[in-house]
Symmetry: C2
Subunit: 355 residues, 2 copies
């Protein structure tokens, strides 16, 4: 495990006495006193209790009006801490973003911890604080959770599952089914930083400047597009498999041809250099705060303005469009020198345990 | 891993070509073709798709009226298959039961798989079928999911997280806050079978008859109590830590004294024998289909009738009552020979990875 010295994560001292319990033990998952201490002090201490008067196995949510979106993701990223984030902030951002991609306003998260016996208690506490800080920033609450401990050697420090519930407050159907030929395709910024940030830590690579993960909640940005009445047809985050896999999924699901221009896709020079060195194509590298938006062409310019105003440094851009029906779906890329090539789906494994 | 030869789990042949992919590989979690094949054929093949026309990272749920309950649990049980169940059926029962304990009607589940590289593909398929069969039986749908693969040696075959959403269709507050002195305490059957079933497989113990786990959805039973208008104050499943820990939690949360009678608590003879041999107290052993109900004394007899009619063989019983305020909360047991002793909360670890 690698540790990032981020003092903001040490805002509050660990509420579990570290001299007594420096590490997670099997008893912390056993249903007895130690588990209750962990839940009360560490988890509820950080996340708060939604129904303090009726503490329960399930959280009771206030009445919600509108259609609901429901999603889940497990996080097994290695290492647990990396420049720009950690497994805790990612576990919040990833699930918040999945809800946002359905056009929902994320509201509530659950969290399931699978701890390996021997995990430093302080590591767990740092991750939990990071989750809470990411949740507060994204406007969601962590309302219910579970802890399991597996024997040493049967896990890898810490895995986190989060599930999320959000509410859809508009009548649009934001989904592949709404994608139409002519739609403009926008992305909200430069690509490849999350994957390269992880890889750099794993391989001990050093660059002139530290490449930080782009891990972030995009829910606020999506909300701005919705509030402005932009005709959004589909949204998809560019995580495992990167932009190329996402576009292939959408082309395949909608039986359309998608054309994008390499020159319009921002990749930072240091990220591009690292990709060349490692033999990666940045279009296939995972991001954790980037998404593609399929938008009615007439609203594309306005949507781009909103994305750029929301994050002036991120290099949001219109990268291409849906050109017409195609069976099977097809993604073509016009390269920097003007040549066209098919951008295929990743067939093997580029970078394991990136999220 | 131990395999149970249960032909019902082989109702459908594995849709992933086993000669080509006999084992899960890192690429099955990589976001590319293999992951998509796994999702489409194995998971959607078994669970169906809720929104086939708008396949998405999040499931869109129909509008729900009423308060919502939201819960999560991870399952790390070892071994994956055991008499009376497997990790898949447990992952459904456990989360369904957590919702039922809040008085909710369970409706939708998410599932997050953390697979270890090298897991036999057929094992995964059997577990997935078992989940679907348990979900159908419990009246819930598995609507959204996620797959991660960790490198060999960094997991233990298969971990599953399920989160669940249910709807509360009545105005009762079924929670510790509603528990009152005078309440009768009922349990819906005999104790200790889940823990002993797991332990027997782990330790290679053989009994005259196979002890099967009690793993089951109790949602239907709870619904019957609610539909009959029984004045339910609190429900709690008797999982990790067993009955003793549950009663202590409730006594502690409600600052009351709880008295129960050992003679009223059913433990099968073979389970009692196994407990004696292994040095376990059946009151602390985990169950996966048993719950305690805190019920207004005036409704206790009628509630017992319903429990017994629902499952005539299970030996449901009234085990005691909430006798009055006490600070701190206290649980006393009147033993078979009439002596009283304090039933304390488990302090260490009795049986790791039981769920």
């Amino acid at each position: 495990m690698t540790f990032k010295d981020d003092s903001k994560l040490f805002a509050a001292a660990c509420p579990i006495p570290l001299d007594q319990y420096p590490h997670v033990t099997l008893a912390h998952g056993g249903g007895g006193r130690l588990m209750h201490q962990l839940i009360e002090k560490c988890f509820i201490g950080a996340f708060g209790a939604l129904n303090p008067e009726s503490r329960h196995d399930a959280a009771l949510l206030p009445r919600l009006t509108g259609r609901l979106a429901f999603t889940t993701d497990s996080y097994v990223v290695h290492p647990l801490f990396f420049p720009g984030g950690d497994i805790g902030s990612m576990a919040v951002h990833g699930t918040v973003n999945d809800l946002a991609m359905a056009g929902a306003r994320p509201l509530y998260l659950s969290t399931g911890f699978i701890l390996e016996e021997g995990l430093p208690m302080e590591t767990l506490w740092r991750v939990v604080q990071s989750m809470q800080s990411a949740a507060a920033e994204a406007g969601v609450r962590i309302v219910t959770g579970d802890t399991k401990v597996v024997d040493r050697g049967k896990g890898d420090g810490l895995f986190i599952n989060t599930a999320g519930v959000g509410v859809i407050e508009h009548d649009r159907i934001i989904a592949p089914v709404s994608v139409k030929p002519g739609d403009a395709i926008l992305i909200n910024g430069d690509l490849g930083r999350h994957g390269i940030a992880i890889m750099a830590v794993r391989e001990g690579l050093e660059f002139e400047t530290t490449i930080e993960s782009d891990s972030a909640s995009v829910s606020g940005t999506v909300q701005k597009l919705i509030d402005a009445g932009i005709e959004i047809h589909c949204l998809r985050d560019l995580t495992r498999g990167g932009l190329a896999s996402t576009l292939n999924e959408i082309a395949d699901a909608t039986r359309t041809e998608i054309c994008v221009k390499e020159l319009a896709i921002a990749v930072r020079e240091d990220v591009r250099g690292a990709c060349e060195m490692l033999g990666f194509d940045p279009l296939y590298v995972a991001n954790e705060g980037r998404f593609a938006a399929f938008i009615a062409a007439s609203d594309a310019a306005r949507a781009l303005e909103i994305l750029r105003a929301d994050s002036p440094d991120s290099q949001a851009s219109i990268i291409g469009s849906v050109v017409g029906p195609s069976d099977p779906g097809l993604v073509t890329l016009t390269s920097r020198i003007g040549a066209n090539r098919v951008l295929d789906m990743l067939s093997g494994e580029q970078l394991p345990r990136i999220c």
